[in-house]
Amino acid sequence: MTGIVTTPEVATPPATAAARPERRRSTRRRSGRGALVGWLFLLPATVFYIAFVLWPILSTINYSFYDWNGITPATFVGVQNYVALVTQPELLGSIINAFVLIIFFSLIPTALGLVIAATIRGISGSRLAGIARVVLFLPQIIPLVAAGIIWTWLLSTDGLINQLLRGIGLGGITRAWLGDFTTALPAVGVIGAWVLLGLCTLLLLSGMSKLDPSLSEASRLDGAGAVREFLSITVPLLKAEIGVCITVTVIAALASFDIIYIATQGGPGNSTMVPGLQIFYLAFTQREVGLASALAVALMVLVLAVVLPIQRIFRGNDQ
């Protein structure tokens, strides 16, 4: 489910930044009739938002205090579901796995994207770069389910990855990447990195293209090395873009579902179980709706708790 949650953030930082300067006040706004008209404009969106987002959030919180199989009447159990969350290893484990995925979904695409963007920056206007833009966005366009199907095949025993490894003399390390306890989670992470790398690279590249070239010229005259220039000048100036990248990808990691549902179903063992998939299983296969809801509440809180500080760090200086 990166779709809905991810790209929103792409757009927000600049939008809010742009919002600050002008605070026009129209006198008409304060009148009673104006307020009514304003709220009439807000009404349809608000109704949908309350009905299909806010109300379900409240329901999730409500369910999380019950033991309910979805069919027979529920029993109130207080915080018992939350206790289970921190005491049952497979539930806690799914949250830990989601954090491990951040490395692959978030840190690798952002870091690699920075390096790549810096390297290709000089040719960002060329025809090759134009083609590259189209190509690198492909993984963003296709459904994550398709990415999952494609990579499940690439990573299988007879898949392309093993074929390549054998080709370069690394036949010894070939394995069923998604079926091995130690490699399954990183392998799932690689799928996510593949999906998100293009987006991050292009985001960062477009950020770089707006930087004033004279800045790097100046530092080069000072004799600063390319690496130092990159770290001390380029990266800090790209703070906003890096923040966007990290926010988008962290949410994608914590709320991952589609890829794992297709590629491993959480296995082998529970080694790739993530909260999103666990909620789905708990709610619809095991029908422990209360427990599923407690995990859902934890997931929602977790995403907020991780994303808000990131936003603060990366946006702080701009304002």
């Binding site: 489910m1 792409v10 757009a11 349809p44 999730t60 790549i116 898949g159 293009g198 999103g276």
Partner: protein, 276 residues
């Protein structure tokens, strides 16, 4: 930047760029070649089959009922995208321009929804949609999606309306336009660029929506494309060549739309940072 540095940066840059493109494209190529192997076999990596079995695509087209799938996804998109765009533009206009009392709180409530993972509310959504009697209908996808898109779409449109100069409104007001006329005749036409990007994003997310489809709609022919692909995998996942052919077929419409409107797609996806 001097021409010397451009050339110097050019060569490693080109190599890296080409490598990156290969990494992006090769998975698709591998799947395509696999799709040409005899149905039901386990081909090995990238190895060309003795004779290409194009009939896999025909078979996949038939078993997946592609025509009906396209129609279903089309119906869902046609319901979700225009409604979402209209009501979020109205709300964005209210929050960014009219600003009735209490609109700050409303705005904050929408911003709160920006980071919401869908898994967080999928369980109650299921019971809610069921009690509305809408399970296994396209409404089960359409209605929740509109609600779920509101935070992003409203924040997006609000940002646009905040950036509009106040003079436009004042001029319209002097001409005696009502608020609705001001909105519909003056502001909406001016918002066209923001709206078209929003439309592209909503199209893509709707088309690719998976979790809602697999939880709320059993019949693949009433799902979105991604949901249908999930069903195809659930049924044919053990027949690798057929699965690959089906996955590619299901991707094709999106790819065509993307290649035709690539510029708009890319700028929509990057827009936020480009604006800054």
């Amino acid at each position: 930047m001097s021409s010397v540095t451009t050339v110097r940066a050019g060569i490693p840059g080109r190599i890296i760029l080409i490598l990156l493109m290969i990494v992006t494209v090769v998975p698709f190529v591998s799947v395509f070649i696999t799709a040409l192997h005899p149905s039901g076999t386990y081909p090995s990596g990238i190895a060309l089959p003795a004779t290409p079995h194009w009939e896999n695509f025909v078979q996949a087209f038939q078993v997946a009922d592609m025509g009906a799938l396209l129609l279903s996804s089309g119906i869902i998109v046609l319901a979700v995208v225009p409604i979402s765009m209209l009501i979020s533009t109205m709300a964005g206009f209210a929050l960014g321009h009219l600003r009735p009392p209490g609109s700050r709180i409303a705005f904050l409530a929408f911003v709160l929804g920006l980071t919401l993972p869908l898994e967080g509310i999928i369980t109650p959504l299921y019971y809610q949609v069921r009690s509305m009697g809408l399970l296994n209908t396209r409404w089960a996808i359409i209605l929740p999606l509109i609600g779920l898109y509101m935070p992003f779409a409203i924040v997006w449109m609000r940002a646009h309306f905040i950036g509009m100069p106040a003079e436009i409104t004042e001029a319209a007001r002097i001409d005696g336009a009502s608020t609705w006329q001001l909105f519909w005749r003056v502001q909406v036409p001016l918002a066209r660029p923001a709206l078209s990007s929003l439309g592209i994003l909503l199209f893509l997310w709707t088309w690719n929506q998976f979790l809602l489809a697999i939880v709320l709609v059993d019949d693949p022919l009433k799902r979105t494309m991604a949901g249908a692909l999930g069903a195809f995998q659930g049924q044919w996942g053990t027949n690798i060549p057929l699965l690959c052919a089906g996955a590619l077929l299901i991707l094709t419409p999106t790819l065509i739309v993307y290649l035709v409107f690539q510029r708009a797609f890319i700028s929509a996806l990057l827009e936020g940072s480009v604006k800054a």
